[in-house]
């Protein structure tokens, strides 16, 4: 019995160690230099938020087809995962010595992955910041590490703010005047909240469009409007008056005013304001206003930015870099170029609620029936991000649950932000 028990207990350890016992380096294929058309091998690509359904595969295949115009004999092996699984995918790939050749990731990943040695400097492969012409200037810093370029922005994934004109009218608000300050936003949200006789919310006043443990981006957006930034020059900036005020406001809207239900999302996980379930809230930067999409409902939606201390729009983004130790750096770079192709950007944006960064090159038809995309594009220069140096992934894992503790009133706002600051500084 003792042996069996020991084995059972030790089995729990196995997975963990297997991740830790490998060596670094390695590459994805048996490529060779020379004429791209004659190169053979397999290019491994980790592709977060490329859905495994027909739509996602079609978009990915489009990118692969563009890549094959230059490298027709290189097989592309995609690994399709949600962003939440990206860390474990990359860490296990690194630990097993079989790193990806192309790493797609979000804004916050680039600097920690560069620091870890999981991705290579693109400047070693002929890229420079000058190649990012057309990309808004504020998107450059997140892809730099120690003054070198480590990734290329592909598309932006902003979270817009939107309201329903009809809900405004029903609440006695002027539908031509969006809230400007966070104080106004809170008051409007209260007025827009509709309850039934039992007190249950039938129309959310303000939808944060977040599930539990995922109020990070909303916090960054509110803090940004108050003039604060999550990190500045890799130093944490959230434990500030702006940060405390923003977090307190989210807590008050959810716990005091109850104009928003904590962690509530509809089954399709779409923004409630676009489905008519909320009067106002965060919304996607891609909306299909054709009959195949939400149709006439689009006419009821108005997009806006907060203009409190700063006018800002929160944005994430899809970036791509070359995996450390790849055997096929030239092919990896060609795949990144295929991702940056305007047609790829448009397709990825439609699939993953984004907006192309290389907007000048994108077919204008992308923005037809997509007013959210046009609004997001026009405000990319106002984007604030969630990123901050080498410890960001460590910090990110703690960030969401810690914010929840303050939002739900389990812990004081000041304590939460002070403790998070210690984590960000690597002191915890």
């Amino acid at each position: 019995m003792r042996g069996k028990l020991s084995a059972a207990a030790l089995a729990a350890l196995t997975g963990l160690v297997l991740a830790g016992c490998g060596s670094s380096g390695g590459g994805g294929g048996a490529g060779s230099s020379g004429d791209p058309a004659s190169v053979t091998g397999t290019l491994r690509v980790v592709a977060p938020n490329f859905s495994a359904d027909n739509k996602g595969q079609e978009v990915f295949q489009g990118v692969v087809d563009r890549f094959h115009e230059e490298y027709p004999q290189v097989e592309v092996e995609g690994d399709f995962i949600p962003y939440n699984n990206l860390n474990e995918k990359i860490s296990t790939a690194l630990a097993s010595g079989d790193n990806y050749d192309v790493v797609m990731a979000g804004v916050g990943w680039v600097q920690p992955l560069a620091d870890l040695g999981a991705i290579e400097s693109l400047e070693d492969h002929g890229y420079s910041v000058d190649d990012l012409e057309g990309v808004p200037e504020n998107f450059i810093d997140p892809v730099m590490w120690e003054d070198e370029l480590y990734a290329v922005p592909i598309v932006a994934n902003p979270r817009l703010l939107a309201y329903s004109k009809s809900a405004f009218e029903a609440a006695g608000l002027d539908p031509t005047k969006p809230p400007q300050s966070l104080e106004e936003l809170r008051e409007y949200a209260k007025k827009l909240t509709v309850r039934d006789a039992s007190g249950n919310i039938t129309q959310t006043g303000f939808d944060f469009w977040a599930d539990p443990s995922n109020y990070r981006q909303q916090f960054v957006a509110f803090m940004g409007a108050l003039g604060g930034r999550e990190f500045e020059d890799e130093e944490p900036g959230f434990n500030s008056d702006a940060g405390r005020e923003a977090l307190q406001l989210i807590h008050d809207m959810i716990q005091v005013d109850q104009s928003s239900t904590y962690g509530y999302m509809n089954s399709a996980q779409t923004a409630l304001v676009t489905t008519g379930e909320a009067g106002m809230g965060f919304a996607s930067p891609y909306v299909d206003c054709s009959e195949a999409g939400i149709g006439a409902k689009c006419d009821d939606l108005v997009y806006f930015t907060l203009k409190d201390q700063d006018e800002i729009m929160y944005s994430g983004g899809r970036l791509a870099g070359i995996g450390a130790g790849t055997d096929m750096p030239e092919a990896a770079a060609a795949f990144i170029d295929a991702l940056r192709d305007p047609a790829s950007q448009a397709a990825i944006s439609a699939m993953d609620v984004g907006v192309p960064l290389n907007a000048d090159a994108v077919d204008p038809s992308f923005f037809e029936n997509n007013p959210a995309g046009q609004y997001a594009l026009d405000h990319l220069d106002k984007a604030v991000f969630e990123y901050g140096g080498a410890t960001f992934l460590d910090f990110r894992a703690e960030f969401g649950p810690a914010l929840d503790a303050a939002i739900l009133g389990e812990r004081p706002v000041d304590d939460v932000l002070a403790e998070l600051e210690q984590t960000a500084l690597g002191e915890r």
């Binding site: 028990l5 030790l10 089995a11 196995t14 016992c21 443990s213 649950p401």
Partner: protein, 310 residues
């Protein structure tokens, strides 16, 4: 009745040690080792070596793919000052304390009921076992629907009785108990089958004798059936504690440890530290602590069993 037999002539110990095994015995031993070899290799590669490496890593500051440097007990010191770890430990203990005894009690009742000559007995046995053979992800999907705050069955039932809706998985006070319910439901089948097997091992003659002596149904259960289940209790207890401490997939799929870490349990916290924060050394230390706690609990269970044997 004890049958006395003639004792064999004593063999001097030294002579016994010196006696060389016969050719047949040696061949059997060789065959045994050969047959055991695949399992030994598997155990060495996938259990023993990784386990030893976890212990080593727990004393280092290793990150994802770096071996790290030896830092002594620093990880362990840091662990016990870590609010998240302490919370995870408490949640795991609460989960275990709630799920293991409740599920064991229900399983005994169900097993006793399904050990009777009732109609559709096989069907009910299968029904209770289905959650065990169903993937946790599928089980979780069903329970996510039940716990859906707007359209879920849970809140519809509450509404039927005029009660206000509950944020089953979004209320920090409710989320862990909500997962305990799933844990009890899902683990019932395994325990039920083990108890059923134990019940069928209890001598019908003993039950019959007790009845002939005028024992009531409760007296038969308490004085005959319950003691007969003692070995099963121990086995079920030990395996249940181990599996409760390792609960991961349920948390991963339903709550992700939230809200506000209210359902963060040890296995999930280890995963977060290892694969989200990429702190291999720290996660290894946490794993070692978990192993020690499980071992201690199992040892306590064994002590209880020894007392019963005496």
């Amino acid at each position: 009745m004890v049958i006395a037999s003639e004792a064999p002539a004593p063999v001097p110990a030294r002579a016994a040690r010196r006696r060389r095994p016969s050719g047949v015995e040696r061949a059997r031993a060789r065959a045994g080792w050969i047959l055991l070899l695949p399992a030994l290799v598997h155990s060495a590669i996938f259990i023993a070596i990784p386990a030893l490496m976890v212990v080593w890593f727990s004393f280092t500051d290793a990150r994802v793919f770096s071996g790290g440097e030896f830092i002594g007990f620093e990880n362990f010191t840091e662990l016990f000052g870590d609010r998240t770890f302490r919370g995870a430990l408490v949640h795991t203990l609460l989960y275990t304390i709630a799920v293991v005894p409740v599920a064991m009690a229900i399983a005994v009742l169900v097993a006793v009921a399904l050990n009777q000559q009732i109609r559709a007995r096989g069907f009910f046995r299968t029904l209770f076992y289905i959650p065990v053979v169903t993937a946790t992800v599928a089980v979780s999907a069903v329970w996510l629907w039940i716990y859906n705050p707007s359209a879920g069955l849970g809140n519809q039932v509450l509404s039927f009785f005029g009660l206000s809706r509950s944020g089953w998985l979004t209320d920090p006070d409710v989320a862990l108990p909500a997962l305990m319910v799933i844990g009890i439901w899902q683990s019932l089948g395994t325990k039920m089958i083990l108890y059923l097997a134990a019940l069928q091992g209890i001598s019908p003659e003993l039950v019959e004798a007790a009845k002939l002596d005028g024992a009531s149904r409760w007296q038969v259960f308490w004085n005959v059936t319950w003691p007969g289940l003692a070995p099963a209790h121990f086995f079920v207890l030990v395996t249940s504690i181990a599996s409760s401490f390792q609960v991961f997939d349920l948390v991963y799929v339903t709550t992700g440890g939230g809200p506000a870490n209210a359902t963060n349990v040890l296995a999930f916290d280890i995963f977060t530290n290892a694969f989200q924060r990429l702190q291999t050394g720290y996660a290894s230390a946490e794993t070692v602590v978990m192993l020690v706690i499980i071992a201690a609990l199992i040892y306590l269970g064994r002590l209880t069993q020894r007392n019963q044997e005496v």
